[in-house]
């Protein structure tokens, strides 16, 4: 059983990562690997589109935390977009909106990089 998928594509020199399904202790390593591959290719301007993510646990949140320092240190960022209310409640409960920019639309998050 593997209820998680991660895909990415390049839009305007920004790596947009689409995560789908359930992000828990079982699937977090897949997400971590996908981000690691991008960061290792110097793709540090990241937008994660969470529109199809149904669930996140602390193991999933840990992946976001695990990359933020490195990515920002290299001049990039992890911006989040199109989160469902259910997933947002978990981010919000832990105060993550202080640390991560969250956008309603993927395009807005991409534009932040383009304009910067």
């Amino acid at each position: 059983m593997n209820g998680f998928e991660v895909k990415s594509k390049e839009i305007k020199n920004v790596a947009v990562v689409y995560i789908k399904g359930y992000l828990d202790a079982h699937t977090a390593p897949d997400f971590e690997k996908a981000l690691r591959d991008l960061v290792d290719q110097d793709r540090v301007r990241l937008v994660v589109n969470l529109s199809e993510l149904n669930y996140i646990s602390s193991a999933g949140l840990g992946v976001f935390m695990g990359f933020i320092e490195e990515v920002r240190g290299r001049g990039g960022d992890i911006k989040l977009a199109e989160m469902t209310d259910k997933v947002f409640r978990v981010f919000d409960l832990l105060g993550f909106p202080v640390l991560y920019e969250i956008y309603g639309k993927e395009e807005e998050a991409i534009q932040k990089y383009v304009k910067a």
Partner: protein, 153 residues
């Protein structure tokens, strides 16, 4: 809201692959007794965090070990009991992170117990060394202030 007594239980091998099965199980029972989506999500996440702790810390990823998940329902509360026979840990010594400091220092991990304690009404840990460890989490059907309001009204 269903107020009759009922017990449900399942046993899973200690592997992260089974977290989805446990979440589906507790969510289905929570839904059956009448919790709304928001409360179901809280129970589901708390149970996931508790089982993840068992898999990673109590059993250290030894997949042959077993985790018991029991749900007990009485007229006032929904109790989930997660039992393992692995290494005990000192639950009381786990510090609740101050989230502002946590985020400012870009820490990673250690949020599971924080989530369990924040999302459930009551979380207790009992360990009988060499025998079993038990996490007991409670969600009340009516919050205490709701109950007193009802009594006053």
């Amino acid at each position: 809201m269903m107020k009759t007594h009922a017990d449900y239980s399942m046993r899973i091998p200690s592997h992260t692959d089974n977290l989805e099965i446990v979440r589906n199980f507790v969510s289905a029972v929570a839904k059956k007794v009448g919790f709304g989506d928001s409360e179901i999500s809280k129970i589901e996440l708390s149970v996931d965090e508790a089982c993840t702790n068992v898999i990673e810390h109590a059993y250290r990823h030894k997949a042959k070990q077993k985790i018991d998940v029991a749900i007990k329902i009485d007229y006032q509360k929904f109790t989930v009991i997660i039992t393992d026979r692995g290494r005990a840990f000192n639950f009381k010594d786990v510090e609740m992170p101050d989230m502002k400091t946590y985020l400012a220092e870009l820490r990673v991990g250690g949020l599971g117990i924080y989530l369990m304690k924040t999302l459930m009404d009551k979380v207790e840990y009992h360990s009988t060394p060499g025998k079993k460890n038990e996490v007991r989490m409670v969600k009340y059907f009516l919050k205490k202030n709701d109950a007193s309001r009802e009594a006053a009204g």
